[in-house]
Assembly symmetry: C2
Homo-oligomer: 218 residues x 2
DNA sequence: GGCGAACCGTAACGTACGGTACGGCTTGCC
DNA sequence: GGCAAGCCGTACCGTACGTTACGGTTCGCC
């Protein structure tokens, strides 16, 4: 289990210039993947390699800082669970689903996940942990309160929020992420994402919705 | 869309010695990941680098051959859809689910997927296509006939087999594969896999099972 | 036995790239 | 103005590794 404490915000203590450099590195990472070179980053960011090494230590440090920098940007608004009814719960779930599909199908996410996957296993850095913590685990942390509010409101029935979340995750993501990571072209239009989000939400409600006052389930 | 024609069996025309070399390369790939070196492969396989280059062209060729070689080994028995009732359908689905979980949580699959993901995007080779074709798409090809047999037998209801398959895929895999690829420890015991397979199957039946003569769904 | 093909082991080559050093420029401070 | 700090651009160094070359050995075949 990774479960790195996620509250520490390492993205501070970055000057504007440093953020600009990391943005350049990020763009290059999206274009070139893990075979980006320090020289290329320096050129793209119009800075010297000496500066890169002074600021980030070494190549792995630069990569880690870049991933964390991007991660710090994707904090999404919390959905609060006040005055919950079936309509607003459904809307929240659809919102989560479509946000998540949007994220995992973005060039940036794909590039970051590719790099992190490539580095996992060769225990040099913890890119995988960072990505996981700011992706899948952050999503769970934001969604679980909604699920539990839904349960308190009598709209959902489940024993374990973690298990319910994982099912929701599966219904939303299905094979999308692995296919994209493996290079499958898979055009996700705005409309397709909306449709998938609605479908996943309905399926989730069919599985975990309380069996009171709704049309015959399925 | 990749959808490389998968029927061509490129694993033939390999001598026993070549298979042994690829097995060595595969073992090394599991241990070292993508940063394995040609020298290491040669040493592990007790062959000369000259031979590696003669047989496989270059490093990418060796990697591709290794991935294809492993892919050719995982052909799983087809399940035929004769005399289908709910019990045998359920058993088939559970079997597929647990086989799939077994595969994606194996060291070999993780290593291969990591390498393929790392190479995707840098269009040099098509490792991603190979992995996808022998993983997710092969699974669909084997499972869809079962789903359609279930529909003909009046046990399942769905409009599109592809969509139904993808939901099943999502219910089975959930977040397991991406977490493993990103380096999350996630011990999947035999028992846990069996439980997950049963749960995913029940959820799938709750969503797509025909509403005749079954106990209250969910 | 002689011969050629295939292959092993190892040495050698070339290069790409991570990392370092250094000269010059700008900026802020005394 | 003088000086120091920070940074850019670039040249430089060392090494790891992909790729090639080559001498020596085995093995099938005549």
């Amino acid at each position: 289990m990774l479960h790195i404490v996620p509250e520490i915000d390492t993205s501070q203590a970055l000057t504007e210039r440093q953020k600009a450099v990391l943005d350049a590195a990020l763009r290059l990472l999206v274009e070139e993947g893990d075979q980006l070179t320090m020289t290329a980053v320096a050129r793209r960011a119009s800075c010297s390699k000496e500066t890169l090494y002074k600021w980030f230590g070494d190549r792995d440090g630069l990569l880690t800082a870049t991933v964390q920098w991007q991660a710090s940007k994707v904090r999404v608004a919390q959905v609060d669970g006040k005055g919950l009814d079936l309509a607003s719960l459904t809307a929240s779930l659809e919102r989560f689903a479509s946000d998540w599909l949007q994220v995992i199908s973005s060039d940036t996410s794909i590039a970051l996940n590719r790099v992190a996957v490539g580095h996992a296993g060769s225990g040099k850095d913890d890119l995988g942990a960072v990505v996981l913590e700011n992706g899948r685990f952050a999503l769970a942390k934001r969604l679980k309160p909604v699920l539990e509010a839904g349960r308190r409101a009598g709209l959902l029935e489940f024993a374990d929020a973690e298990t319910a979340f994982r099912t929701f995750f599966g219904l939303v993501a299905r094979d999308v992420q692995i296919r994209l990571l493996l290079g499958d072209r898979l055009e996700l239009t705005e409309a397709a994402i909306g449709g998938d989000a609605a479908r996943a939400t309905q399926q989730f409600l069919a599985l975990f919705g309380a069996k009171t006052g709704r049309k015959a389930d399925s």
